[in-house]
Symmetry: C3
Subunit: 265 residues, 3 copies
């Protein structure tokens, strides 16, 4: 298997796809800036009255349940239905899955509404989403990503989705295929919105790369390599957060080829 | 025509006007910090129960429709009505105008509720607001600002508003007057919330400068000059975003006189 | 009286308590990053459907009324009731108290719902909360913190709360005790979310330190000392904001002992 990391980044930048995010309050600014820095075009819109039209003009839909409330859930469903009907990629970020039964119930409803093209979460969220009855410790904690591979395979088979599990090693699963990406730095877990940005960037790649497995791998590799490059500039969370945005703008296709560590199984 | 750029900045800083923002989730933090850095005093409040009182103690009202939903629209209308009754300047930022019919309908309702003192948007938003039936590509895209001058004149005549069109050259229109401001740097389009900050800062100047045309010019010149000064420090979007906030605090009246490039027509 | 500043910071970092925030849109990202940087684990959740469960798995609840609306108030009450029943510390940040009657009414309802363990605000907010009929000038303004000591004592006696008044000198009151903390820098008032971060960090300490008076003092000292350390790196508000997050991650227990200036009365 050969992922066209360089081409995909160039395509993203030349197409500058509009990514429609229905996401949480905590990360809206950061993910909008991450998309802009990388070269995509973000829009955040959650009104029931406009999500259909917004999905229609967008290249991908990213749904993130970080700060849920009931009227947002209705808009998420309508947007997902619309995206599915139009054949636009849907990225689901199950933030805090397992933390409360409300989150689990909403996630079950969303999965029934339309199968996501890509599901991206940390290990505990993917485990919870797959029905493993664990309780997460907040939205930033993780279990080992390799522990949750079984859950990722199960989700992928049930919904036909690519499942991207973020962790020290990112594991990306589609059907019986898996890719392991060994990039990134631990400091990324000390900045809020890194996972949410990974999902948003999966939306940007999903909008321009036909194969969602390849899109998810490109997104995870871009995040990980940018994390490593940013860590050369900044070792503490505040300045790292800013250096990471800089790096998303500065990263070249050649950086990806040179630094991405991807294995397939 | 002689704009008192230096005096206006000094007045803003000595008065530190309270600017009441009903704005979008994406930029709330950044625009609050921009107002604080420049020397104004921000408040963000959107509850129907309190917007009348908040407008009453504020020096200006900034309404930004970036992340619309229906209960916010009711509060926007009540706040605009109150501001109009009390003679306080209203700044309207029609984020994403033209992207969905919901946005267009809400904007039409807001314009009927009370004529804005200043309307500030990018070229495509101003075109859409003026009824030109174009579809915007997301909230950060622009058409050439000069293309939208006709739309700006039409809006200004219909509503008596100053219309400030942001772009490579900012064009500010009032009745038959126009000012062209050739400051700023392209990197400003790669940071979310720059346009929204321009609107918030127009609110801060609007609160302390009697003539809204002069207030809008002062705000656009301040944004553009700060963009140029910040670009001396930072060439990538993350660090530029931070340098821009620093510059809002550091800019002196003399910087404005020295660097602002304003032409009148 | 001997506050175990060093131990408390070490305990916070080793326990990494989950802090449940129902807070305002403006500061959500910054306070989440502040908690993560210091070593705690943030969660932001406001849905009526899930706050009970979220409080149950959290170590502390922080309620901040910065951008109020009615359906959030219901969730705040339910969360506070749940926290009180479970004996978990409740931190109340009365942002903008006194600015509108809606805020005052909501605060009265919240105080009736459950007595906060710690109330943290600036001088004008504490005065307003204590019923002094003053009008605040926005959410970032302050009166001298010493002016509001009487109000703090009154609140502490009425509700059994620790009351932490932020200002040039922070004053922390419990019953007849008071602590005065002379740390921090004036630039902290030019960055939005500093007060809200102080409340969130009081939640983090409250989750791991038994005595709420000691928790509030540890939080205020940590904020103030980090402000001084960050000011060594950055003198303007944008870069200071980022340096402050870095400092929260970098501060050692020894820094606290060395730099904290605490007096008791």
């Amino acid at each position: 298997m050969e992922i066209q990391l360089e081409n995909n980044l160039q395509t993203l930048r030349s197409a500058s796809p509009l990514v429609h995010n229905i996401t949480n309050y905590v990360v809206m600014n950061y993910t909008a800036n991450a998309l802009l820095a990388l070269g995509a075009s973000p829009v955040m819109a959650h009104a029931l009255e406009e999500v259909e039209e917004m999905v229609t003009i967008a290249g991908a839909l990213v749904v993130n349940i970080g700060t849920l409330s009931s009227h947002w859930v209705e808009a998420m469903k309508l947007a997902m239905k619309t995206a599915a009907k139009l054949g636009k990629p849907i990225i689901l970020d199950p933030v805090g899955a397992g933390a409360t039964s409300y989150r689990n119930n909403v996630l079950a409803e969303l999965l029934e509404t339309a199968p996501p093209t890509i599901i991206r979460g940390n290990g505990s969220e993917i485990l919870a989403l797959a029905g493993a009855s664990i309780k997460t410790k907040g939205v930033d904690s993780t279990v080992s990503s390799t522990d949750s591979i079984e859950a990722a395979y199960a989700l992928s088979k049930k919904f036909g989705s690519v499942v991207s599990v973020s962790g020290a090693v990112d594991v990306i699963v589609k059907g019986n295929q898996a890719a392991y990406i060994s990039n990134g730095v631990p400091l990324m877990t000390r900045v809020t919105g890194m996972g949410c940005s990974a999902s948003a960037i999966a939306g940007a790649y999903g909008a321009v790369v036909k194969d969602p497995f390849e899109a998810a791998i490109s997104a995870a590799a871009t995040m990980g390599v940018c994390g490593e490059l940013a860590f050369r500039e900044a070792k503490s969370p505040g300045s790292f957060q800013i250096a990471f945005l800089d790096t998303l703008a500065e990263i070249t296709p050649a950086h990806l080829t040179e630094l991405a560590k991807i294995k397939y199984a």
